[in-house]
């Protein structure tokens, strides 16, 4: 119009990328450093136990040097090596649990604070003085929780796997074992890592109800969003238990705790969808019902996280109903983001 030299509209895509960058700047510690530290602790524990093992062996005069361990590894059959690799991958995944647990806590509290902390310190007025829509703001937080945080956690997890393999290789090398054929078998490692990356969007879909609910509490609460997020579902559950309401509708109360409370508070646990659809893996394992699941001993990790199970979960109504509820929560969060400018107004 009257200032033709200046662009008068912002570029929506560019704005959204800057919003994501903003989240990263603020959350670097939780999104980037925390999973790295968790992985680092696991590597340190491994290193320490190796040192302890070595010193103990030396102190007690145990000498296995005369035995050529390398010959054992070279005489292993293909099948034995595959089994070993499979166990190794399962071990690596086991060592990754602290990283995933860290990611859960980081994302949980990130979401609770995402639309609340800036209202408490009034910096919301600075963000609102810029040409950014409330929808974009809320979506940038949802995308950070569903894609950014898990991607950085998976990167930390893969870095930890590599560090562990290097440590094991050095250890094996000290004992005269050639680590290459045993530890650095690319196919199972790569397929596990690719699977983990592919699972990010599946986890994200499954996590939508939790992400939406926590964002809604964060946008809605005038104080103590944590209390709102936890007390509302717990309180409802208690009321249901006392009034027998659910039983009259012939809904078992375990259904409420698993499908409502579990989904809106713990949906961001990576792989939470494992028990859903078809022969739910988790149900099969924890129920001790070994018939329902065939664990491939040559590929334990990939048989737990098999494409079959993933498609079972993707085809289940639980996942899509939850996702729809999550989108509803997010829409409500956008509404309250617009309404509430100050925590205590």
């Amino acid at each position: 119009m009257n200032a033709p030299t200046l662009p008068t509209r912002s570029n929506p895509m560019q704005t959204f990328l800057w919003l994501l960058k903003r989240e990263y700047w603020e959350q670097r510690g939780g999104f980037f450093r925390a999973p790295l530290i968790a992985g680092g602790v696991m590597v340190a524990i491994l290193l320490l136990s190796m040192i302890v093992a070595e010193t103990t062996a030396v102190r007690h005069g145990i000498n296995i040097g005369n035995l050529n361990l390398d010959r054992i590894s070279t005489s292993m059959t293909h099948e034995q090596i595959a089994t070993f690799n499979s166990g190794l991958n399962a071990g690596l995944m086991g060592m990754s649990i602290p990283i995933m647990a860290t990611q859960f806590f980081v994302v949980f509290f990130y979401l609770l604070g995402a639309l609340y902390d800036d209202r408490r310190d009034r910096s919301v007025l600075f963000w609102k003085s810029l040409p950014i829509s409330d929808l974009d703001t809320v979506l940038s937080k949802a995308v950070s929780a569903t894609l950014m945080a898990p991607t950085l956690a998976i990167a930390a997890l893969i870095a930890m796997h590599i560090a562990v393999l290097i440590l094991l290789s050095v250890y094996a090398g000290i004992h005269g074992v050639n680590p290459l054929p045993l530890l650095w078998n690319p196919a199972p490692l790569l397929s596990m890592w690719i699977k983990l990356v592919c699972l990010i969007p599946v986890n994200a879909l499954w996590a939508l109800p939790t992400i939406g609910w926590l964002l809604l509490c964060s946008a809605f609460a005038r104080s103590k969003p944590f209390l709102w997020a936890v007390a509302v579902p717990l309180g409802l559950g208690t009321i249901f238990a006392f009034t027998d309401l659910l039983r009259q509708l012939s809904i078992p109360s375990s259904w409420y705790w698993k499908n409502i409370v579990g989904r809106i508070l713990f949906g961001i646990v990576p792989g939470g969808w494992l028990g859903v659809g078809g022969n739910g893996t988790l149900r099969a394992i924890t129920g001790g019902n070994g018939n329902d699941i065939e664990l491939d001993k040559f590929d334990i990790v990939n048989s737990v996280l098999s494409w079959g199970h993933i498609f079972d979960a993707l085809g289940s109504p639980e996942l899509w109903l939850g996702a729809a509820a999550g989108i509803g929560f997010i829409a409500a969060a956008v509404y309250f983001r617009r309404k509430r400018t100050e925590a205590y107004s």
């Binding site: 200046l6 310190d121 007025l125």
Partner: protein, 292 residues
């Protein structure tokens, strides 16, 4: 619509603007027109409705009545509005974790009217470093950063709500000096509220007094100068002065100073020496009994 707003230089137009909090009426059917190129001071005692009015204009709160800012509806067209409107809501609202350099990068990224060069030129005159976080800065430095960000945006309307609250006098002076010398021009409009009226007196072009949600004075500084006169009256003419229904009367050095509203200056000149009243004196006189 754009053509309309370009031809009529109306920046803010409000008719019957009302805002209730429960039973309290914070804004009571306010009519307000602000033209382009003005610096408007919105002055009122605590709880008079200043911040409520600004929040409505910025689309930060609900309201009843008609309101258009730059031809846009602040409630439904907020993000369009924020491309042309800027505000500093209060001191120290910048997020504490943000670094100076990140703040510049972010605003440059999302604001189409932001000029990085202008911002850096302004920051070069301060001690601010790109790596510093807001939480490491003093109150005055945070305001310098905020002002540098805002002044680098070529906005049509700048809204300042108590921008210098809690700052020492050096920062306060510098703030208004920068605003006037480096930012303001006839294309821009500034709406400012503050309790330190005497500090903005000389930069205002328009003055609005607000009390209990109503505008009780709304005039240009020229009109104010014509309308309100202070007279220093000797003891012999006090009765004559009181007969002209003064707005206020106070004593200094044994002389009485009367404030008149709308009495012809020729008439007042007979009573004694004429002065232009300060905004602070005018404010005190018009707000008498506010807290009673």
């Amino acid at each position: 619509m754009n053509e309309a707003s370009a031809s009529s230089p109306q920046i803010v137009r409000a008719r019957g603007l009302t805002r209730r909090y429960g039973t309290t009426v914070a804004l009571d059917h306010v009519d307000l027109d602000i033209a382009a190129g003005r610096i408007v001071g919105l002055i009122g005692p605590n709880g008079a409705g200043k911040t409520t009015a600004l929040k409505a204009i910025l689309g930060l709160s609900e309201y009843d009545g008609e309101l258009s800012v730059l031809g846009l509806d602040p409630r439904t067209q907020r993000s369009e509005l924020m491309q042309q409107v800027c505000f500093i809501a209060d001191v120290a609202v910048l997020p504490r974790w943000l670094r100076v350099g990140e703040a510049i990068d972010f605003v440059a990224g999302v604001h189409p009217r932001f000029s990085r060069e202008r911002c850096l030129a302004f920051l070069a005159r301060t001690k601010l470093q790109p790596k510093q976080r807001v939480r490491e800065l003093s109150k005055g430095m945070i305001v310098q950063l905020h002002l540098a960000l805002v002044m680098a945006i070529d906005a049509k309307l700048l809204v300042l709500d108590e921008p210098t609250l809690g700052l020492d006098i050096l920062y306060r002076k510098e703030f208004y000096q920068n605003l006037l010398n480096d930012y303001f021009d006839e294309q821009k409009t500034i709406l400012v509220t503050t309790h330190q009226v005497e500090e903005i007196e000389h930069i205002l072009t328009d003055l609005i007094f607000i009390r209990n949600g109503k505008l009780i004075v709304n005039a240009s500084m020229d009109e104010i100068g014509e309308r309100y006169t202070e007279v220093m009256v000797g003891p012999d003419k006090i009765e004559a002065a009181r007969a002209l229904a003064p707005l206020n009367e106070r004593q200094i050095f044994g002389k009485s100073i009367f404030l008149f509203d709308g009495v012809p200056q020729a008439r007042l000149a007979e009573l004694g020496e004429l002065h232009k009243p300060s905004i602070a004196d005018l404010f005190v006189a018009t707000m008498k009994g506010t807290y009673a």
